[in-house]
Amino acid sequence: MVAVMNKSLVKYGVTVLALVAVLVVIFWQQFAAQPVIPSALKNMGGDFELQSSQGPLALHDFRGKAVLIYFGYTHCPDVCPMALGVMAAAMQQAGDALKHRVAGIFISVDPRRDTPDKLDQYARFFDPRIKGVTGTPALLDKVAAAWRVDYAVPDQPADASYAVEHSTFIYLVNPDGKVAGLFDEKTSAAVIAEQLRLWLR
């Protein structure tokens, strides 16, 4: 009787030990896998609240997701659609399992011409998970300064044809809302998809 009990105790102990070992390995892997934010990016970014067609939209609404952010304007013929195409492709390549954990934000620095409704239609062409937002020039200036975005909108009426100079970064924001990577429209979608996967591991 005693021997039998000892045997099952030993069995139980071994099982517990094995489970603990597996958990330790899993936690260790998770810890070791946590990517590091390059120090150059540490003073960049921050929360903002801008206007979407559905009302106010803040970066903190995306906590827990990996977010790709681009500053541009819809009249941009070349680099903006390239960048949004790369963002959409990266989000799609990140895989079906992460489908609901990746998102995009397209921030227009040209609110005179880009209404939230127009931005919504523009952004969803690339991927419905990319939200189009904008704000007042004063607010955009503040956000742009925090995100180290350099841009200039010429002083022309909304119905004029003009180009907006702007920086062309694609930002990767990690699930904690911190800027964790910087790309541009020439980066391959596969490279960005890999970073999305890393931060969501």
Binding site: T74, P77, Q92, F125, S167, F169
Partner: protein, 150 residues
């Protein structure tokens, strides 16, 4: 095999614009979101002649205004600027490609459709006008037959 067919198709579709000297290949227009009125066109213009040629402008009936644009970085800012002319030396080529020099198309009269062809008219300093058929391409992943971004 697939690649060969695509290559053959490209060859057949190649709009040979000016048989004598200028050969325009891979002319295409980026399909913009339906809500956008502006987009860009791209092409390679090869000068097979013995003399340098100069493109002095471009026009397109499908838009309010068309122009040749260059791009440069000013610090971190991407700047577009109008190109007054593009010179192509004898035996040389001018490349208009995404992220570089491009044909700016402003004020589309109606939304474009993937696969449709629109005509771009290259204006040469000689006074000649060279019509080029450019195919509208949807560059999104899993859309159109040209695949995604390269």
């Amino acid at each position: 095999m697939k690649k060969m067919i695509v290559a053959l198709m490209l060859f057949v579709c190649m709009p040979v614009a000016h048989a004598a000297e200028l050969v325009v290949s891979d002319a295409w227009v980026r399909l913009p979101p339906p809500v956008a009125k502006d987009t860009a066109a791209y092409m390679t213009v090869e000068n097979r002649g013995r003399e340098a040629l100069r493109i002095v402008g471009i026009s397109c009936d499908a838009v309010d205004a068309a122009g040749l644009h260059g791009m440069r970085m000013d610090g971190a800012r991407m700047m577009m600027f109008a190109l007054p002319a593009v010179d192509i030396p004898a035996g040389g080529e001018a490349i208009f490609a995404p992220g570089g020099s491009h044909v700016m198309l402003m004020g589309l009269h109606q939304p474009l459709k993937s696969g449709e062809r629109i005509t771009l008219n290259l204006q040469l300093s000689s006074g000649e006008v060279l019509p080029v058929a450019a195919e509208v391409r949807d560059m999104r992943m899993n859309h159109g037959h040209h695949g995604g971004m390269h």
